[in-house]
């Protein structure tokens, strides 16, 4: 078979991504059609910047999901093919069997693996960690930041000191101290996970209890559901001790997850605290206090909803930042297994031969860049639209 030309490679990649294009078109068609009924999400489609950002992010989310469902990748991201080491993009696969894809669309890396399939698989690595890690960091930050601002005093001093302490650490030093096999052997990440992952549970329980404690029947139902599901997930994720044996979390992924949540939550804490300090002086908070509402009701059902605009914007930005952090971890070869197709590790491997072969390092670098850029544009669009009301 002939090597593919540049145009042919582009066309082949576009064709390979067909499920993603269909998905993108469907989502955009429906969203544009019903945008007036979709609240803030619908308004996003009024701003060009926000729409572009959303399209890029959605592209990567769909790529990751379809890639994980095995609808996109042309080869196994871990399989090595003989004679394909460092081959340029579009090289035909030597001795391709029937049913096997005939080319390495973006070439082979220094272990003769398909770069294109690895980039697709790497998207899944990011999409399955970054949003959840950010969400957990937000839960921790909100659960601690609201009382720090609302009560103030000594609680605020202590929590702020701890937050500043973590922020004063150089991130990379922290990663090196937390994400090494030696530290994993001591079990510290598991204990940290045990503490950090408790916060979402606490958050959900307080959230329902403060709202429905006057309707005991409803409250008990909600709390029971939250506790059963929450504890089940908690045991499975943090302690790897799911009694039903359904949920498990690979230990090295857990370390990465914990490290990223730990680095992100102090910043979220500071943002939430700042917003809450401002909002708690408003009249509707005073009104709620006069009505005799409890402090947690005021924090979670009066202050928090009114801080949602900046928090949603920051959430988008922070997913991007988390993506960068995951890449940093991969770049220094920390945490994830050396074979892992995540973008940071792939860039790290590719950079060693960068002066001779460009194709193994550039695709993951550009992918990471475009995903973070998409998230930033999305955040910008959201900010613009939420300021408009």
């Amino acid at each position: 078979m002939e090597p593919l030309s540049f145009t042919q490679i582009t066309l082949a990649i576009l064709a390979e991504l067909l499920p993603v294009w269909i998905g993108l078109a469907a989502v955009f068609f429906l969203s544009l059609r019903y945008r007036r009924r979709l609240g803030l999400y619908g308004k996003l489609f009024d701003s060009t910047i926000g729409m572009i950002g959303f399209a890029i992010v959605l592209f990567w989310v769909l790529t990751a999901i379809f890639g994980a469902l095995d609808l996109i990748g042309t080869h196994d991201p871990l399989a090595q093919a003989s004679g394909m080491k460092n081959k340029v993009p579009g090289t035909p696969l030597r001795g391709a069997e029937d049913g096997e894809y005939g080319w390495y669309l973006l070439g082979g890396d220094n272990l003769a693996r398909d770069v294109f399939s690895r980039v697709i698989a790497g998207a899944w690595e990011v999409i399955r960690i970054a949003p959840f890690a950010t969400l957990f960091a937000f839960m921790v930050g909100i659960t601690l930041g609201l009382p720090a601002a609302y009560y103030g005093g000594r609680l605020d001093t202590v929590l702020s000191f701890i937050a500043n302490l973590v922020l004063a650490f150089p991130v990379i030093l922290l990663f090196y101290l937390l994400v090494t096999p030696e530290i994993v052997a001591t079990g510290i990440p598991v204990y940290m996970a045990a503490v950090l992952f408790l916060f979402p549970l606490i958050f959900a329980v307080i959230l329902f209890n403060s709202r429905f404690h006057v309707q005991p029947a409803k409250r008990n139902l909600y709390l029971a559901v939250t506790l059963v599901v929450g504890l089940w997930l908690y045991l499975g994720i943090a302690w790897n001790a799911d009694p039903l044996g359904i949920i498990s979390f690979p230990p090295n992924l857990l370390v990465v997850f914990v490290a990223v949540v730990f680095v992100n939550s102090p910043t979220v804490f500071r943002i939430v605290r700042g917003l809450a300090l401002d909002i708690k002086t408003r009249d509707y908070v005073a009104a709620a206090q006069t009505r005799g509402e409890g402090p947690w009701y005021i924090m979670l059902w009066e202050i928090l909803p009114n801080a949602r605009g900046p928090l949603i914007v920051d959430f988008c930005l922070r997913i991007g930042y988390t993506t960068i952090l995951l890449g940093t971890l991969g770049f220094f070869g920390l945490g994830l297994s050396p074979e892992s197709p995540d973008w940071g590790s792939t860039i790290n491997e590719g950079r060693k031969l960068l002066s001779i072969y460009l194709h193994p390092a550039l695709p993951p670098a550009l992918s990471l860049l475009s995903l973070v850029l998409g998230l930033n544009l999305l955040a910008d669009g959201l900010r613009e639209e939420s300021l408009r009301d």
């Binding site: 150089p170 030093l173 090196y176 030696e182 940093t328 960068l354 002066s355 390092a361 973070v372």
Partner: protein
């Protein structure tokens, strides 16, 4: 003002103490010590050999005691080893053990010695910090004017075409972490295969003799990531100032647009970016670590990676003390500077 300063200094000291203790505790966990013993001795040591090795060198004392010795508030250990040799924390190679001082810690100016580089921590950090200082100086020289100019140009006519395009540029630059921009820049400007070959892809030679050719790429890579953020802050603050009453007054009395920007708006618009720039410096530290690894420039960040990879306890502690002090001092300067620049805020 004096009280404020003193309180900040106290918090700084407390933070530094807590941080170094955390680093100390994490590096002194048993699996880490075991790794240290095996890299220093040999890799096939049995568990007993590891225990004697560590015991003879004082590593098996309790962590608070060891921390006290490192700090210099507890007397350094003197241990008669199982192999008959007497070792002490404060013993100097070749000197008589009797003359050795009782205390030798950070407070006495003794930062210990590195197990990887086999040298004094203080001298390693001094040389490496000087190299990184050179890098950072050029980064700031490139980054601050570029960021301020981009921000002011974008912010002076909000919503114009210049504003839109410059804002996109700054968003792209904030979305590009150093390891991505570094790789792309090397590919474009330094690759021997297809690139332009304008610059060198490694900065090792820049340590002695920095030229435009071997030093521009690392400097530009760090500056690029920090630039976007500062530019966006400057743009926001400039745009806000341009809507102020006194700008409208100046316009109405017929001052030219250039004069309004330079004489009336600029000074007020630069207050916010100043704090951002100061707070950005600790962030640059991360960039420094990545870029020095990527370009093989053996400065402070490179040392941090080496120390962390080899669990070089005392060097790692030295590195963290320095970086914590940098972070806290920049925070202090940004607070004080903010007060000086903005007459509406007073310290209380």
């Amino acid at each position: 003002m004096g009280l404020f300063f003193l309180r900040r200094l106290g918090v700084m000291l407390l933070t530094a103490l807590c941080l170094t203790f955390i680093v100390f505790w994490l590096t002194n966990l048993h699996p880490n010590l075991e790794k240290l013993a095996k890299t220093q001795g040999n890799f096939r040591m049995s568990d007993e050999a590891v225990a004697t090795y560590l015991g003879n060198r004082g590593y098996l004392q309790s962590t608070p005691v060891k921390y006290g010795q490192w700090l210099g508030v507890l007397p350094g250990y003197v241990i008669e080893g199982t192999d008959g040799e007497t070792r002490g924390r404060c013993f100097v190679n070749g000197a008589d053990p009797v003359d050795a001082p009782t205390f030798c810690g950070v407070l006495q100016g003794d930062w210990g010695s590195s197990t990887v580089f086999r040298d004094e921590v203080s001298s390693i950090i001094a040389t490496r910090l000087a190299l990184t200082g050179k890098l950072m100086f050029w980064v700031l020289v490139l980054m601050i004017p570029a960021a301020l100019i981009v921000g002011v140009l974008a912010g002076m006519r909000e919503g114009s075409r210049t504003d839109r395009s410059l804002s996109v540029v700054s968003i792209v630059s904030t979305a590009t972490p150093e390891y991505v921009s570094g790789v792309i820049l090397i590919a474009v400007f330094a690759s021997s295969a297809v690139g332009l070959k304008w610059f060198k892809g490694t900065a090792t030679s820049a340590m002695e003799n920095a030229t435009f050719e071997n030093f521009f790429l690392p400097v530009f890579t760090i500056a690029l990531y920090g630039m976007g953020y500062i530019a966006r802050m400057t743009r926001a603050s400039m745009a806000e100032v341009m809507t102020a009453q006194y700008i409208r007054t100046a316009r109405l009395k017929g001052v030219s647009f250039g004069n309004i920007v330079v004489k009336h708006a600029l000074r007020n618009a630069l207050i916010a970016p100043f704090t951002v720039i100061m707070l950005q410096i600790p962030w640059l530290l991360n960039g420094v670590v990545i870029v020095e690894t990527l370009f093989n420039y053996k400065g402070f960040g490179w040392t941090l990676v080496q120390a962390a990879q080899n669990n070089d306890i005392e060097l790692l502690l030295g590195v963290s003390v320095v970086s914590v002090v940098v972070v806290l001092i920049t925070q202090l300067i940004s607070d004080i500077g903010y007060v000086y620049l903005n007459p509406r805020i007073s310290v209380s």
